[in-house]
Amino acid sequence: MKRWLRSLVLNGVGLLVLAGGLSGCGQGMGGESGEKRPVLHYFTWSDYVGPEIIAEFERREQVKVVIDTFSSNEELLAKLQSGATGYDVAVPSDFMVAIMVRQGLLQELDAAAMPNASFLEPHLQALPFDPHRQYSVPYLWGTVGIGYDSAVITSAPDSWSILWDPRYRGRISMLNDQREVFGAVLRSMGQSMNSTDATVIESAKERLLQQKPLVKTYTSDHYDQLLASGEVVLAHGWGGQVARAMAERPTIRYVVPKEGATLWADCLVVLKSAPQKALAMRFINYLMEPEVAARTSERLRFASASRTARELVSPAIRDNPAVYPPPDQLGRLEWMQDVGKGIRLYDRAWTELKMQ
């Protein structure tokens, strides 16, 4: 999920929070009878926590939580690889969990310390990147699909091919994310979205070149606003963000095409370098507490991985297929995987697409 732009602004705020947190902690140490409150450092996506949820944990555990944000999985990895330490809990997405495990960045979890983490949706219990949940707990999850305005597109689309329909020239937005854009085309061609076959990627690029004249913009940030304002009528994007557009424009609908699409899950992990490992696991247990997880899900409009939380979410959000993917979709969804050096194929093809 690439939200670097918003984060450019929010990181500044994050730094202030961090600075405020550090200075606040200094005061605490000097104050009341030399009592020292432990500090938990939480490294998460920008705009991905409810302040009142954090405050409640701080009260309950008598600790201080310091939040720092990143805007892409790549940024998270880059920071940790370049030697940033002091973070306790982080929220990488599926494929990044796999990389972090292989890089030895993650601490093995103590299942006994986090009972709430065991009430998971059935399909999230054994994930390909961490089958025994040794290192990660799925937190929020969802799909990538197409948001569309049913007032304009009256017959509900069921295929990616709607994004190639010349009737909607100049009213289509695509994610500004090479893997997701190629993923959509590869699925529409009946291929895996993790292909590293040069000829397959080349023909996917040809399909995207045909589409480009119809595309108004490639954006991962504000397509919900474009949909809500009617600027575009078809938007390739994450379900939760399309759900936000629905709140403003009730005619917006969301579809996961029949050829299949991305399934993603952001996961809670404890870093190997974490200074507060026990507290970190209590924090994960807290975030997975059904009532807390339900509130988070409602606020962010992403599905909670906790099955018990799902029961507590308000029906309007729980029944929205953009937020909670219906069970019959699961069969056609695919996890994005790291393609290693194959990324250069995507890079080259993506750059060529942009330069035509």
Partner: protein, 296 residues
């Protein structure tokens, strides 16, 4: 431009020696936070990418060889074109403005200059978002044009190359105006009067007197606009709809998306070389065209 500063008092060698330590903090700062990172980027540009991103310290020239692909030449050409166009537009808009400010009553000048700098008080990103609101399909500009009856069909302004140039010109115009103001302000009005007295045409006054005498400001302004515009990446993404890439976008992509720091570093160095070559060329041409005036 330094060589032609009109004698503003000479400093004795002893004095200049005594005060040279004043430059030490800035030099240390530059060495630590400019030269060291630059050296690192240079070293990384000869390393290779690990399987999961990151840097593997094996010497290779593959990153530079990869850049020989015509695709990257195309991106560079594209960026040079945008930067040149932006610089030209800024000059055409900025020169008259600088002239008017420099020739207005002295007590107004601080206020007028403040107005030029005022946009800097707001974050560039926020101002770019404001342009998106102005240029949108149902944005203020389209609404105004339609209600005035000037157009019947709304114009597609946002997410076009035009929008990118508008955004760049808007963003960097003050960098053009300020050096030009300084140059015009120094220009002795008597020289312009003399040209008129000698029956020079309007164009001759401008091209043979005003331009050569303000050349340092013109060169300074052009360089200050050209360099940031060629490396910009927010404007092409937001106002251009990320439908094409400038070289800044490519660097950002390699670093943050592809996790390919070595290739990103190589692109950065090629960009730096091109910018330096362009600026050197610019100064040389400026020297040539301004040269004869100095000799007279």
């Amino acid at each position: 431009m330094q060589t032609r500063t009109t004698g503003s008092g000479t400093v004795s060698p002893r004095e200049s020696c005594r005060s040279s330590w004043l430059a030490v903090p800035a030099l240390v700062w530059m060495a630590l936070f400019f030269l060291v990172p630059l050296g690192l980027v240079f070293a990384i540009s000869f390393a290779s990418r690990g399987t999961y991103g990151g840097i593997v310290w094996e010497f290779t020239t593959a990153n530079y060889l990869d850049l020989l692909h015509p695709l990257y030449g195309k991106i560079l050409g594209h960026s040079l074109w945008y930067a040149t166009l932006t610089t030209a537009c800024c000059f055409v808009l900025g020169f008259p403005l600088a002239y008017v400010i420099a020739r207005s009553p002295a007590r107004w000048q601080p206020a007028l200059l403040l107005l030029v700098m005022l946009p800097f008080w707001t974050n560039f990103l926020v101002r770019t978002y404001a342009w998106m609101i102005l240029l949108r399909h149902d944005g203020l500009i389209n609404n105004a044009l339609v209600s005035l009856g000037l157009v019947t069909d709304r114009l597609e302004l946002l997410y076009t190359p035009t929008a990118v140039v508008i955004g760049l010109v808007y963003g960097y115009l003050p960098f053009m105006v300020l050096p030009l103001y300084v140059a015009v302000e120094r220009l002795d009005p008597a020289l312009v009067e003399a040209a008129w007295d000698l029956y020079a045409s309007r164009w001759a006054v401008f091209s043979r007197v005003v331009v050569p005498l303000t050349m340092p400001g013109i060169v300074g302004g052009c360089v200050l606009v050209f360099i940031p515009s060629i490396g910009s990446f927010i404007t092409p993404d937001l106002l251009g709809g990320a439908r094409s890439m400038m070289i800044g976008n490519l660097i950002q992509h390699e670093y943050l998306v592809a996790r390919d720091w070595p290739l990103g570093s190589a692109v950065s160095f090629v960009l730096m070389a091109v910018v330096m070559a362009a600026v050197a060329l610019h100064y040389r041409q400026a020297d040539r065209s301004a040269g004869p005036v100095d000799e007279r």
